[in-house]
């Protein structure tokens, strides 16, 4: 057998390694860049606006110099919570169903079908929201328009389904089969096994799914903007107009001069979103680390 030119093989190996490392580093650089740019632009708001006002006032009226963003922060958190309360249990039920109950052929249909939810453009969700869901929320909240957190929450609940379902199902599936066997062998029913053993054992993964779904919900823009009502104030009810960080950014970004305090305030909102996303990631990591220790 011919002796390979050792250096060549080695050279390739090393080159590939460096390429991979640099790609990985590049990914880190990108996120740092994003934080830097959005952060710098956003933080310059505080040259003219007090930190305290921005975070504690709910008066957003930039043309009269009032820059309180509390409404938007609360709106984002509120809609996200509604979305999780509605979509979380349904998604988890779907995941348990897929992992433990569905006959193989049902799973073969349902799993890719739920992925389709993720492929529907957000504008379409928003459109269905305006034409169907807002009418529904107008009725049940007995408000005059129906635009508001409930409508946005429902739309988001549907949008996060694929995330919750697929990640939770993966978590359930990655459990060792021995848990299920052990429980069934003790005479537990299938439901007892699911509820007392499998779901708790998969809880770090399920938690990860929920948190990532929240990240998705809080960052969603177009669909929310179409059904939230976009009024910059605390709502009287779940069915009256308010705003979220994202919806307010798209609403006003196109109509404010770049570099103005108003515009910077919008970047600051984007920066808050970024920070929330980062916090969520840290939560995910602690959740999964806690899972690993057990």
């Amino acid at each position: 057998m011919p002796q390979p030119t050792k250096s060549w093989v080695y050279y390739n190996d090393r080159l590939a390694r460096y390429l991979f490392i640099s790609s990985a580093v590049l990914v880190s650089l990108i996120i740092l860049c994003i934080i830097w740019f959005v952060g710098m632009q956003g933080l310059s708001t505080f040259r003219e606006v007090s930190f305290l006002e921005f975070f504690t006032s709910s008066k957003w009226s930039p043309d009269s110099g009032q820059y309180g963003a509390l409404t938007f922060i609360a709106g984002s958190i509120g809609t996200t919570l509604i979305a999780i309360l509605l979509g979380g249990p349904l998604g988890l039920a779907g995941a348990v169903f897929l992992a433990e109950i569905a006959p193989p052929w049902v799973r073969a249909i349902m799993r890719p079908a739920t992925d389709l939810f993720a492929g529907i453009p957000s504008v379409v969700y928003g459109y269905v929201g305006i034409t169907v869901i807002v009418g529904f929320t107008r009725k049940i909240t007995n408000s005059s328009t129906g635009y508001g957190m409930l409508a946005a929450g429902i739309v988001l609940a549907i949008m996060i389904l694929p995330t919750v379902i697929s990640l939770s199902e993966d978590a359930l599936r990655s459990l060792p089969g021995s848990y299920k066997e052990a429980s069934l062998a003790l005479g537990a029913t299938r439901w007892q096994t699911i509820w007392r053993i499998l779901v708790p054992a998969a809880s770090p993964g399920i938690l990860t799914a929920i948190i990532l779904a929240m990240a998705r919900a809080i960052g969603e823009t177009m669909a929310v903007q179409m059904v939230i009502g976009n009024s910059p104030r605390f709502p009287d009810s779940l069915g009256s107009p308010t705003s979220t960080l994202t919806s307010n950014i798209v609403m006003e970004m196109g109509n404010t001069p770049y570099g103005s305090t108003w515009n910077n305030g919008l970047f600051m909102m984007a920066f808050i979103l970024l920070v929330i996303a980062l916090i969520m990631i840290i939560l995910v990591r602690t959740a999964s680390r806690k899972g690993a220790v057990r």
């Binding site: 991979f20 990914v27 349904l90 992925d115 439901w191 007892q192 990240a215 960052g219």
Partner: protein, 281 residues
């Protein structure tokens, strides 16, 4: 017995939940396709307000964004799965990919607008849009790559290395081919999401298309189907049948995603079948 009843009850509930989820999807699909399919005529594509330009842009921007993000995403994913030692450095990289994955797309949009549109002076172009879209793809690609590589049995790696192969040879000849079906599925997901992306592209690729049919100039205007849908919905220009265009575009988008899923899942199934050999499912 109580346990039995609870079991039965829970099973029924779970079935109902699953059916509800599917029913929701079916409702969405029938609503959108029902409204839009009738408008998908030749005129819809090539008429004076036709969407063939947007259709082309959708795929062109997707293609370019994958060209930008695939090498980096694959590279970083491979690094994380195969090389990364457990240390601060890789922790940092892992943290950044995960963070990147949870960045709201509007933030990408704004970032792209500052950097590509304004700082680099690209304006609202296909290039600016696809570069920003690449940022959205990147973390998903890293994650998908890492996961599919990790799913390759350790034994393949060991077997190859024990034969005196270098890591790169092992990757190229054994691990990547074995992981290919998973990679393809992952890329399908990425592509599906990118095709429907709106918020990013509004701020970076703009809202109109080149007059030239199939304009491959990356500096041409880059409105995609999803953005077009947004644009006609929000600005129903008088004198156009904007409602029909919107409904048709929504249906077309859904069709594209479905076709995309099917088209890309077939080769990956076939590959899987071939890799596993006839004698195993």
């Amino acid at each position: 017995m109580k346990a039995h009843q609870a079991n039965r009850f829970a099973s029924i509930l779970l079935w109902i939940g699953a059916i509800a989820i599917l029913a929701l999807l079916v409702a969405f699909l029938t609503l959108i396709l029902g409204r839009g399919l009738p408008y998908l005529t030749a005129e819809f594509f090539s008429g004076s307000d036709g969407v063939r330009g947007q259709l082309f842009n959708s795929f062109y921007i997707l293609f370019l964004s994958l060209i930008f993000s695939l090498p980096i995403g694959l590279g970083a994913g491979i690094y994380m799965a195969e090389y990364a030692p457990q240390n601060r450095f890789t922790d940092l990289i892992r943290l950044s990919t995960e963070s990147l994955a949870s960045v709201p797309s509007i933030v990408f949009g704004l970032f792209g607008m500052i950097v590509f549109v304004n700082m680099f002076g690209l304006g609202f172009t296909i290039l600016g849009g696809s570069a920003t879209l690449a940022l959205l793809n990147l973390p998903i690609l890293v994650r998908v790559t890492e996961e599919s590589l990790r799913a390759v049995p350790r034994s393949y790696r060991e077997a190859s290395l024990a034969l005196g192969a270098t890591m790169w040879q092992t990757l190229r000849k054994v691990i990547l081919p074995t992981a290919l079906p998973g990679l393809i599925t992952g890329i399908t997901l990425v592509a599906g999401r990118a095709l429907g992306e709106t918020a990013i592209l509004i701020f970076t690729a703009g809202m109109n298309v080149s007059r030239i049919l199939f304009d491959v100039n990356p500096l041409a205007a880059g409105e995609t189907l999803a953005v077009h849908l947004f644009a006609v919905k929000s600005n129903p220009l008088p004198g156009t049948n904007s409602d029909q265009i919107a409904d048709g575009t929504a249906a077309l988008l859904i069709l594209m995603v479905i076709v995309f899923n099917i088209c890309l899942s077939l080769p990956s199934r076939w590959l899987q079948y071939r890799l596993q050999g006839k004698h195993r499912g």
